[in-house]
Symmetry: D2
Subunit: 283 residues, 4 copies
């Protein structure tokens, strides 16, 4: 079944469910899913609505024009997402392969509905993994001196491949504010700790030194404020005093890959609305 | 805030969100929550809708009459639930105190919004617990010979106390089909295993003998087919070869009380719709 | 079965298992459990050893004297714990009842093997809970001006009741360094967040503002460095954007009580060795 | 560090820790890990002991001969496992790729310390996956008529490749009793349900029909009694009424791969002792 997803937000007011759903009912659409959330402190309303595209009697363009006109008096901000063309995901990596393997396998198995046109590494190590899955790999090394130039190259590559979403699959570089801003809301990072627990470098060593009994991982949209972007997904796993930093890292890698995959999947399915520094993730 | 909850089901058809939400919008109600589910195999639609009672301009009776008339052409089956009078929960127990304590504490702390007018035990052991919380306790022992008579007494007591929901908090008796049918959809049992894993007696011994690595608990509506009623909630906990049946039982009791409390809370908040032998539990 | 628990630590060296276990074998003791841990970075060895007291042919005093002499060449630091007299736990509370209820119920049910001779509140609210379980309650209000005097009274009460372990069951006061030092390793606090996530006040509001997808709780030994004491136990639970700070607090309270109970149980069963700012918790 | 693992079991008796550890201490071995378990009902004792092979002053053969002689009066049954040669794992598959991918990736990343010399499929679908990782793939189709002959071919292939452990990575065939017996304790299967929940075929459809709130997976040693072999590892994940059988299957596949990987890892690290129809899995 071909579906379109509307993500909507506006000031909270009476009658929103009725008025929005009636817009689609009047045009003979079957509403397959309709989820809502009201953020009480900010009095803001959010809706995710899935319709059956088989019911479309006009063009997508005309539907959008009518919905735009309809939304003005309500103060709607919205976006609509069609199943075609497929979304294109660019992946940034360094040396650790587990998240990259996981994304490639899930895409191959059809769990992640997207294309992966390019993998960019700042080290050459993962070219062999890219080759296994026949995905073009570009090695763009980076030093403090070449950072700006390298980021331009990365940007250019992502543009050339018509990338819609960038995933930092354990990319161990801090991207510039300009880069991050350019990909606002379309750049997902996996942080190998349960935020806001251990920020910054070597969180598994921090966890070991602190003697925590659980470790975790956090997938979030990247913002210029490092490790402070809107959280999409988190999970944890139990550890003990027996686990060395190396073992914590291995145990953690299992959580990292699952958390990142869930976040990417939610993004690709248009189940996320960013609001301020938080996300609404519809189930 | 005073709210009313509508639980609705009907054959799936176009326009249900629009038509139902518009019914309330036309009467100037603010819809606080609106959740839906479509069961595709049976083509059946379910909705839970919460409105602000402060918007009620007529009587409850008139609102219900209008909704009845409105629902006929759609084939609606529905119920509405008001915050008053508070629901009354009767608890059946035997000897194990952990679930009873848990329900009493959560009710006392306001997490379970209900009254607990009576506790009935087929053994006298838990009268002291009832006394601690100043809840009337009735001991109604039962043998094979007195089973029918005892159940009549239980029924009579529940009626006298205007009980709306009966909770079997580790009540180690099998209730008759007549009793269960009389309380259909209003009788919750906690089974001390992860159904459909270990049915019947001594599930922790069964779990030990089988060498499972996790044990669990299942809260379900009781039906005449033992351990086969609609499941409301389940959870599990990890165990090891070190755990004896006695330790499994103690570890399991922690899961039992949490699972039972969540199920009772979901029922009291009118978040459950029973359909066939399954439940829809809105979050 | 009556057992004694030896908690042992020393510099790592060859033959420790053999030499220590042989000490007990030569005295005809049955070793019921023997668990070890070697901390590689510090080259330190830890052992927990449980013996059957029925095998004791001499006095406890003589056994201890012999083990002392035995341990000198190995550099052993050790303690031994007998089942009698029962340990005595004093509980500090403020207004929130859930952890207090939980400890009282688990003690009553025999899960926590201890006596609870006194509950001290800096507010009068929980006297009714103490009364339900027939435990003496003392209200010792505290202000900035009376803090030192009040702590002296608390100390005096704990001494009078021969308290072995103090549990801060959501006691919303920061104890002085002197108090904390006096109870080093015998003072357990429950912090209502997943440390080192949200330190300090109102962690559930912090969690809401940050938009985390899981919340947690941490039980730790209190030290003069607030929220930095050795962690004993942690756990988390999944939350969503739907959960308000009030709901996070309620959801979190379920984790708090379980985490605190597990930590107190581990302490009472002599399964914890503190080393630096970390704990070894034998399973 | 090169280590050897001793797995030991015998009737429970006094002095086992002392006597066994002293055997190694007298030969100047450093004991790196020593874990024990006593099964009280059967009065049987189990030990896993890891020694540093760098301390070996004689030959492996002589050490084994001495340990054999030492063990006779104690009634020891034991095995010893050296790090070389690396263990060889043969994988049986049908059409589902997720478990196969997972094993290959973890082996490639060094998490699973083994070689994978051959993958055998009863369908040709997964040859491409095998090719990605440069592992020989053999397609051996099977029908009711050719079952015995096909199993002989599978056996022959496993022998040719000197396979130590066979993993059924969603191999959708029931192996004969002869085959299973020949690989007793060296044949791991992943069952896509939380045993003993839904045995037999299509467990995700069974789970959907029953309306369970969690689904799981179970890794176990295969025995001739289907789905009744000793359980090695289990895990579960929460689901809701929204999840169709297809979605349950996808959600479940994430648990299947993790559970299977943990079981294979435990086996490869010699952390499992089978006793009767249960396993002891040392952590």
């Amino acid at each position: 079944m071909q579906t379109a997803v509307f993500l909507v937000q506006c000031p909270d007011q009476k009658g929103l469910v009725s008025r929005i759903s009636t817009f689609f009912y009047e045009r003979a659409f079957n509403i397959l899913h309709c989820q809502q959330h009201t953020d009480v402190p900010t009095e803001r309303y959010f809706m995710r609505l899935v319709i059956d595209l088989a019911d479309l009697r006009t063009s997508r363009q005309q539907l959008e024009a009518e919905f735009t006109a309809f939304g003005v008096p309500l103060g709607l901000e919205w976006s609509v997402h069609y199943p075609d063309p497929p979304q294109r995901v660019g992946i940034l990596v360094t040396k650790a392969s587990h998240c990259l393997y996981d994304l490639l396998v899930r895409q191959r198995e059809g769990e992640l509905q997207c294309e992966i046109p390019v993998i960019i590494g700042n080290h050459p190590d993962l070219e062999t993994v890219a080759n296994q899955f026949r995905v073009p790999f570009q090695c763009l090394p980076v030093t403090a001196a070449t950072k700006a130039a390298q980021e331009s190259q990365v940007q250019e590559l992502l543009r050339q491949h018509h990338v819609d979403l960038v995933v930092m699959a354990r990319y161990m570089q801090i991207l510039s504010g300009d880069f991050v801003d350019a990909w606002g809301g379309r750049l997902i990072n996996i942080h190998h700790a349960f935020l806001p627990g251990f920020k910054g470098a070597r969180p598994y060593h921090q966890a070991y030194d602190r003697g925590v009994k659980m470790i975790g991982a956090t997938a979030h949209y990247a913002t210029s404020d490092l490790d402070e972007g809107p959280i999409i997904e988190q999970d944890v796993v139990r550890v003990t005093h027996e686990d060395t930093p190396a073992e914590l890292s291995r145990i953690g890698s299992d959580i990292e890959r699952v958390v990142l995959a869930r976040a990417v999947k939610a993004h690709l399915e248009h189940r996320i609305i960013i609001t301020g520094r938080k996300t609404i993730v519809f189930s």
